[in-house]
């Protein structure tokens, strides 16, 4: 049953893929989005049902027995290395599986409408199914290599889906960028795996957890392991400094952004941290780094999101920022909180993206919010659901985002790994988030249509709206699984995660109420600021003009891409050219050929004796004779 969860979407992938290929062989007649979409949706929905069933069975079990395990087949067995292709479901990844399959199903449904006019929807759905399959392998994998298989597999699907519309070179490029940047992270992941294997002799999570308890390892090594794995997370979850691929990844179809680059794949870093929490619990140094990186990313991305004009870019930076918050949570030791935010974020960010997709769909592929406005009347359904998502991310109670974000801020403030600084940064991020999301909301839906397109926008079909509505409901209510002090989620995850850290000295539980209130105020302030500024767009433009330098820097995303281009890509290319044209061809190869030309030149030289002159020939005989006689006589009789 566990295997079926993974296999069902894979079967869907195969079915759609083969369908697509046979259609190509027969002459490229395309398959309709409805047919392929229904097939794909059915497979992922089946997977969801199975996950749900297993989840319910898990609930029924005693706390310590909440594990399902299945070994599909032995994978790599060499010497001491024994990696089985095993899946294991416990309390932690059951939740992830539910989110993936659940949100995935909704997004599949949405895509049926969204991809209706596309050339090759079957291919799209095949990729989407494949992604789900890999994502499930990632979370359900029982060992690091299996996780890594899924990890790279989702990267591949991300690559394929980002460059889905590959005829646009930029989109094709974005896909490659995503894959390569992810590879940088994977590099750390791999090394981390090696370190773990050589230290503990196993890569299976359960065995690792057991071994970690028994084998004494130097703290430095543990920190190294933690940080190396975290490098992998940086890549996959788009943290500083490897976040650059995610905004570009918006080149893919919007459902892809919703599923992969908001709800599921990018949060796998958080999953990994939670999965390895037993290890991280032993290394406060690594945790500090994680918290620092998370906080920095959150603030940094939020700052960029402030001024972006592409609806998906804003959401993308918002995702990066929210991921930063999740890592902040993990970094202060509150893994459950991080997971909580993963779930709520999956709901509301998927919602936001899909609504954005609905908007784009309605606006005929227009993504610039400066060209929108007044869509409330044109797309009322979308307006409502987007509004729900907006309030959720801003952290207005009782929407889901409020609970999780507030929990993060509280943990950041109160945890013994946290502190006022991270809390302050988190709060600032919350403020900015509320501001830019409101800006987005206002510019898109309120006011008047600023272009013809906006004036002629149309509402999306039902097949797209129904998933939105379901997600809206989830965004509104999802937070209740983690109500402070009565958190079902925390209780549920308690056995599988490392325990939350102690309270910081001098922090009291009463403070939590105060902070909760404060965060509501912050969110409200952000929203209010946005309304104040963007009621009249000219005021905003004036402000931008006044702080033009800052505005430009933010608009240009702090020039990070440019920096990488100049500091890494270009030098590498130049160095490679040097290696090839100068070092390889003119250096090594010339040495090799030099042996040949040495022989040739010796030949030319020796040939000069061959003048055809009999005298010279005789003279050479004489010289030979004399030297042989001289040498030998001297040698013997000296």
């Amino acid at each position: 049953m566990l295997a079926s969860i993974v296999l069902l979407p894979f079967v869907g992938f195969l079915a759609n893929g083969i369908w697509y290929l046979t259609a190509q062989v027969k002459g490229g007649k395309s398959i309709s989005a409805r047919n392929s979409g229904v097939l794909a949706t059915a497979s992922i929905a089946g997977s969801f049902v199975l996950s749900l069933a297993l989840f319910i069975r898990l609930i029924g079990l005693a706390e310590e027995e909440r594990v399902f395990e299945t070994v599909l087949f032995p994978w790599i067995q060499v010497g001491a290395l024994d990696i089985s292709f095993a899946l294991r479901m416990d309390a932690l990844n059951a939740l992830f599986a539910l989110v993936i399959t659940g949100v995935g199903t909704l997004i599949h449904v949405f895509s049926i409408g969204y991809m209706d006019h596309d050339e090759s929807p079957a291919k799209f759905f095949a990729y989407l199914n494949l992604f789900c399959s890999f994502m499930l392998v990632l979370v359900l994998g029982a060992s690091l290599p299996v996780l890594f298989l899924g990890w790279e597999g989702v990267g591949l699907c991300s690559y394929l889906l980002i460059s889905f519309w590959y005829t646009d070179p930029e989109k094709a490029s974005a896909g490659k960028k995503a894959f390569v940047v992810n590879r940088v992270g994977d590099f750390g992941f791999l090394i981390g795996m090696f370190l773990i294997f050589t230290t503990f002799g196993t890569l299976d999570f359960a065995a690792l957890k057991a071994a970690f308890a028994t084998v004494a390892v130097a703290p430095g090594i543990v920190t190294a392991m933690g940080l190396l794995l975290f490098v992998g997370c940086m890549g996959k979850s788009a943290q500083l400094p490897l976040f650059v691929w995610l905004p570009d990844a918006m080149a893919g179809p919007t459902p892809v952004s919703a599923l992969i680059h908001a709800a599921t794949m990018v949060t796998s870093g958080v999953y990994l941290l939670a999965r390895m929490s037993f290890l991280y619990a032993a290394t406060p140094d690594a945790l500090s780094v994680i918290a620092g990186v998370g906080a920095a990313t959150a603030l940094f991305a939020a700052s960029i999101a402030l001024v972006q004009n592409d609806i998906k870019k804003v959401l993308a930076y918002s995702t990066v920022s929210q991921l930063g918050l999740m890592f902040l949570a993990c970094g202060v030791g509150a893994y459950a909180t991080g997971v909580f935010h993963v779930i709520t974020h999956a709901f509301f960010k998927a919602l936001l993206f899909l609504s954005a997709g609905s908007v784009i769909h309605g606006m005929h592929e227009e993504q610039d919010i400066q060209k929108m406005g007044g869509l409330r009347s044109k797309m009322p359904q979308t307006f409502f659901v987007f509004g729900a998502g907006w309030l959720a991310i801003c952290g207005i109670p009782p929407f889901s985002g409020f609970f999780s974000k507030d929990e993060i801020l509280w943990q950041a403030f109160s945890s013994s790994h946290g502190g006022t600084l991270v809390w302050a940064i988190g709060s600032l991020t919350a403020l900015l988030t509320a501001f830019y999301m409101s800006r987005l909301f206002i510019l898109t839906f309120l006011g008047k249509g600023r272009t013809d397109k906006a004036a002629h926008a149309h509402e999306s079909p039902w097949v797209m709206l129904i998933p939105l509505q379901i997600l809206a409901v989830l965004s509104i209510t999802g937070g209740f699984m983690g109500v402070p002090h009565a958190s079902w989620l925390e209780h549920w995850l308690h056995p599988v995660l490392a325990h939350a850290p102690e309270l910081r000295a001098g922090v009291h539980h009463e403070t939590e109420w105060f902070l909760m209130g404060f965060s509501v105020v912050v969110a409200a302030a952000g929203i209010a600021g946005a309304f104040f500024l963007y009621r009249d767009k000219r005021a905003a433009d004036n402000l931008a003009a006044r702080f033009r330098s800052i505005h430009t820097v933010l608009l240009q995303k702090w020039y990070v891409d440019e920096f990488y281009e100049a500091a890494i890509v270009k030098p590498v290319a130049r160095f490679s050219s040097f290696l090839w044209k100068t070092f390889d061809v003119k250096g090594i190869d010339r040495v090799v050929l030099g042996f040949g030309s040495f022989a040739g030149q010796s030949g030319t030289l020796a040939r000069t004796l061959q003048t055809g002159s009999t005298q010279l020939y005789t003279f050479l005989i004489l010289v030979g004779f004399a030297s042989i006689v001289g040498y030998t006589l001297y040698g013997i009789f000296r």
Binding site: Q77, Y166, P169, F179, F194, G201
Partner: protein, 511 residues
């Protein structure tokens, strides 16, 4: 079975004899020749399957041995045998050859008979190299295969084919000649030490003990002589410069054989000869070899990055990938060694695939310049899928064959030299970069030009060529145990010479 006693001989010589018979086919029927040659390789493949079925995976010993006294006065006997290591390389060879021939059906424009005969002869020589258990016999096959390869490159190759053929031939031959001298020396030493007469039998040579303390001791010099030959073949940086020329100029079939099988001989030679024969020298030169392997990985990848010719890019990618093989071998532990062998197989499959794929578009467009292509995914969707899968396997995506080898090699290397493992792992990043970039430039973007828009998608024949490769890619990626199980005893026996203790330690730690 009729040939149960000398199954391996049948396997080795069947393609050659078949090819000879094929020469009798009248030249006016090129298609008969093609199908005849295809039949020959399939027969060889079936024979190798029989070999596989008869192979006992529980034993590290050489099996299906044949031994006939050949040149008694030189201590040379005709000895064949295979163990778990050679088994898969043999299978790789027999597996690739039918695909190569099928792939070359349309590519050959002149002298069909010669072309297919040479391919079959080449197959025989390659099989012989992998199966010989006598140093002399090994050397005979090793050198003999240069001849067909030389003609394949020189007659059916690209513009600079003659230069490339010459360079390939002389470079590799010069390298192996010193090995010949070393073989002499060992055979002679065997007589001196054992008094049982000279012998070039591998098993006898294994017993020879040569003083090996110091970087210039007799054993080290012998090792260097062997290693030079093998590392040129691998090819290891900085001995690789024959490879871009030969690969690029060779016809597709030649490139595939070169990359798919010939390069593996270097690695195989190291495993079969250098390691068991010269344990002290190998330990001494372990570090230089590891450092060079590490350099090779990044070096090949970086140069591949800036290539404008697809074939050249693939050629340099081979330099990079084969660097892993050297690393794995010189890690001197079970993980590294198994990984190295696996990487050889994987590289054989995926790089062959790359060359075949490049050959397919070359046949259509008669150019290999990346800039001449663009947007092919639109006009050739099937091709795009196949190409992508092969590219990904070359980029070592988990789930494909490339990953298993690289993972094990890096794991093995990590246990030997963590710092180098870190640097080698950089190849993981660069590999994805240059391969996907190439893929992007060729396949993605707008359809570039009228010629590209007219391209036809894969034909049935081409699909038949690629499908087995793709199946192998995933099979090897997902079920490596199938492969490892056969070679494990041999690898363990080999590694135990070096790290009897280390393996045990690892076993102890694992729960």
């Amino acid at each position: 079975m009729a040939f149960s006693g000398n199954l391996l001989s049948w396997l080795v010589f069947a393609p050659f004899i078949w090819g000879l018979a094929g020469l009798l086919i009248p030249a006016r029927n090129p298609s008969w020749t093609k199908y005849w040659a295809l039949g020959g390789t399939i027969v060889a493949f079936l024979l190798s399957v029989v070999v596989y079925l008869q192979f006992d995976a529980t034993s590290a010993a050489f099996q299906l041995q044949e031994s006939v006294s050949w040149i008694p006065s030189l201590g040379v006997s005709y000895k064949l045998g295979l163990d778990g290591i050679s088994l898969w390389l043999v299978m790789l060879t027999t597996f690739l050859c039918p695909l190569v021939i099928l792939g070359a059906f349309e590519a050959v424009e002149k002298k069909h008979k010669g072309f297919f005969f040479l391919l079959l002869a080449l197959e025989s020589a390659m099989l012989g190299t992998f199966l010989a258990t006598d140093a002399f016999l090994f050397y005979v096959f090793w050198e003999a295969l240069l001849i067909p390869m030389y003609f394949l490159v020189g007659i059916w190759g690209g513009k600079d084919r003659i230069f490339a053929a010459m360079k390939f031939f002389i470079y590799t031959m010069a390298g192996s000649l010193l090995m010949l001298v070393a073989i002499f020396y060992l055979a002679y030493q065997f007589n001196v030490q054992s008094g049982m007469g000279i012998s070039t039998s591998l098993f006898d040579l294994y017993t020879v003990k040569v003083p090996g303390d110091g970087y210039l001791s007799a054993q080290s010099l012998l090792f260097l002589a062997f290693a030079l030959a093998f590392m040129i073949k691998v090819p290891l940086f900085p001995l690789h410069t024959w490879l871009p020329d030969a690969h690029v100029q060779a016809p597709t079939a030649g490139s595939v054989i070169l990359a798919g099988v010939l390069l593996k001989m270097g690695g195989y030679g190291l495993i079969r000869f250098a390691l068991p024969l010269f344990p002290d020298a190998v330990r001494l030169y372990q570090w230089p070899a590891l450092v060079l392997g590490t350099i090779a990985i990044s070096y090949g990848a970086l140069i591949a990055l800036v290539q404008t010719d697809i074939k050249k890019l693939v050629a340099y990618s081979s330099v990079s990938h084969m660097g892993y093989v050297v690393l794995g071998i010189f890690s001197l532990n079970a993980a590294g060694m198994s990984g190295a062998i696996y990487q050889m197989l994987a590289h054989g499959i995926s790089t062959s695939g790359l060359f075949l794929v490049v050959g397919m578009i070359y046949e259509r467009r008669h150019t290999r310049e990346i800039s001449a292509f663009g947007g092919l995914a639109k006009v050739m969707p099937l091709f795009a899928v196949a190409f992508l899968i092969i590219v990904l396997s070359s980029a070592a995506l988990p789930g494909t064959n490339g990953f298993v080898g690289e993972f094990l090699i890096l794991l093995g290397l990590w246990q030997t030299a963590p710092v180098l493992a870190v640097f080698s792992a950089l190849g993981v990043i660069l590999g994805a970069f240059y391969l996907l970039w190439m893929f992007q430039r060729v396949m993605y973007g707008k359809v570039n030009g009228e010629e590209n828009a007219q391209l036809k998608d894969l034909s049935t024949r081409e699909i038949l060529v690629l499908v087995p490769l793709i199946v192998a890619i995933f099979w090897m990626g997902m079920a490596p145990g199938f492969w490892f199980s056969k070679m494990q005893p041999s690898v363990d026996a080999l590694v135990s010479k070096y790290q009897a203790s280390a393996v045990a330690e690892l076993r102890k730690v694992s729960p």
